[in-house]
Amino acid sequence: MARFLLTRLAAFVLTMFAASIILFIAINVVPGSAARSALGIDATPQAIARFEASRGLDRPLVVQYAEWLRKAVTGDLGTSFQNGVPVGPELLTRIPVTLELALLAFLVANLIAFPLGVMAAARHQGWVDRAFSTLASLLGAVPNFWLATLLVMLFTLWLRWLPPGGYVPLGTDPVANLKLMIMPALSLGLVSSALLLRIMRASMIEVLSRDYIRTAHAKGASEWVTLRRHGLRNATIPYINVAAVEFGFLFGSVVVIEDIFQLPGIGSLVLVGIINRDYPVLMGGALVITLFVLVTNLLVDIAVGFLDPRRAKEGQA
């Protein structure tokens, strides 16, 4: 087991490292845009050159990356090109916001998808199955930023139940916080739930067609006991793997949703970083998001190792 964990951890660190390289290349590949963005389109070539030199942007990429990495491992993620604010601390204050949004949205998605998917599979080809499948089909085609707009139209404009945007920390005022988080979480969660429902349904249908389900019936187990005891664990394993990928997509989508609801999270920071070509901000923000996604994958990998006795055995070999 220890060996299993260590190999996974090592892979995680390596992947983070490689991801930082890719992000760095992606951001810095086109020269000049940071300077032009900070100084304006009328900037003279000399001003641009001075700007770049002062921030070391004229050096070879490899050198720049090495410099960034050296500082990053000590926790220094640079300062913003726009306003000189240190990136690291800014990210720290924003992480709880994004984390809360992502977790709430993911919770919503699973609370819907899990039971409905199981039900649809248990009543395969019945009207319940067709209804839920159709629902999932339709919901999955809705862009989450459109759903966000529609929710605001309904709950803010028409019903006047919820404020349209802003943020209050959870510790300060839980009720206000949740009121502000419901719509963002629903926008992300509802659309995610569509895919997850289909996955759970497919996974469970596959499991229910297996021989060991027939064995359970042959022993006299009721449908419910069979489903719970023999079906769930086996169907959940492939489900978790896909759910992890979907969580990654969901986490990426915070860039759009935080912008709509004016949530001061990492996503909106990344967006600002892009519009202003503010490289340190963009690099830091994108890296944190990627970090969370990779951590999720790592945790899921470990969880599956525990859930699936065949996998755990591999780790020990």
Binding site: D211, Y212, R214, T215, A218, G220, A221, R233
Partner: protein, 282 residues
């Protein structure tokens, strides 16, 4: 023509009695019979073999007794009785009470028939939980002695293991243990030795015979392997394309087959003029 059937009795009904059973299969909304007018009986303590090739309907017939037919199949006509109990008129809840309890299934592919994420002990002991109200944990502990019965060594350790850690023969024996847990009247064994090596196969057959000898359990043994039938069974039914073409005591069937098809089957199998004794080389 009434042949002498040693296990037949007049004081008790047959353990299993199937009369004029017809099973239909649906394909593209059309129902076609795949098992036609099949009758068979199994008496207490008798080991009955059902021989036939793939598609002869032998598995479906046995599943009908358990009322575990797949969705595309239905019982169109006939009667099925387990002792005094009329199977076809039972409700679903009543059937659940019978399954694993008064009659048990030992399915074909043991590896596939075991839940890969559940410990073997839990699975083998599950009938105790389902029918005797024992908590699953306690049932798993009790399963140890069932594993002993089927000669699995180190039963405590094995009970905590998962199916993929068992060999093919052990998996099959675990399935048998599962079937025996509640001392059923009838064991339905569907090709239990087909996937096994010859030596392991011999052990499993020996085990089944012991079970019958020690507890009087009837066994319905489905197979396409004539050698196994010759070795284990008392009475034989030969099935072909959904019908019974011949039945009789095992020695007579092999020595003097009446039906054309039976003769064909015997001719196709190498060196089978006489039932083999256990352990004898082919």
């Amino acid at each position: 023509m009434m042949e002498n059937r040693p296990h037949e009795r007049t004081d008790r009904p047959p353990t299993l009695s199937i009369e004029n059973l017809t099973i239909e299969f649906s394909r593209r909304r059309v129902w076609t019979p795949v098992v036609r007018d099949v009758s068979l009986r199994i008496w207490p303590g008798e080991i009955v073999g059902v021989i036939g090739e793939s598609g002869s309907g032998k598995t479906l017939t046995s599943l009908a007794a358990l009322r575990l037919l797949p969705r595309q199949a239905r019982i169109a006509a006939g009667k099925v009785r387990l002792g005094e109990t009329d199977i076809l008129s039972r409700t679903d809840a009543q059937m659940r009470e019978l399954r694993g309890n008064r009659m048990a299934l030992i399915p074909q592919d043991a590896m596939q028939s075991l839940n890969p994420t559940m410990r073997v002990g839990h699975q083998v002991g599950e009938p105790l939980n389902l029918h005797r109200g024992m908590p699953l944990r306690a049932a798993a502990a009790a399963a140890r002695k069932f594993l002993e019965t089927v000669r699995i060594r180190e039963p405590e350790r094995r009970a905590r293991e998962f199916p993929h850690q068992f060999s093919g023969g052990m998996q099959q024996r675990a399935m048998i243990a599962m079937g025996l847990a509640l001392a059923p009247d009838l064991l339905i064994a569907d090709e239990p030795t087909t996937a096994l090596d010859v030596t392991v196969q011999a052990q499993v057959l020996k085990l089944l015979r012991e079970i019958r000898d020690n507890s009087g359990t009837s066994i319905l043994f489905i197979t396409h392997d004539l050698g196994v039938v010759a070795e284990l069974c008392d009475w034989v039914y030969v099935m072909r394309e959904g019908s019974v073409v011949e039945e009789g005591p095992v020695r007579r069937i092999f020595a003097a087959p009446q039906a054309e098809y039976t003769r064909m089957l015997l001719a196709a199998t190498p060196s089978l003029h006489e039932p083999r004794r256990a352990g004898e080389a082919a």
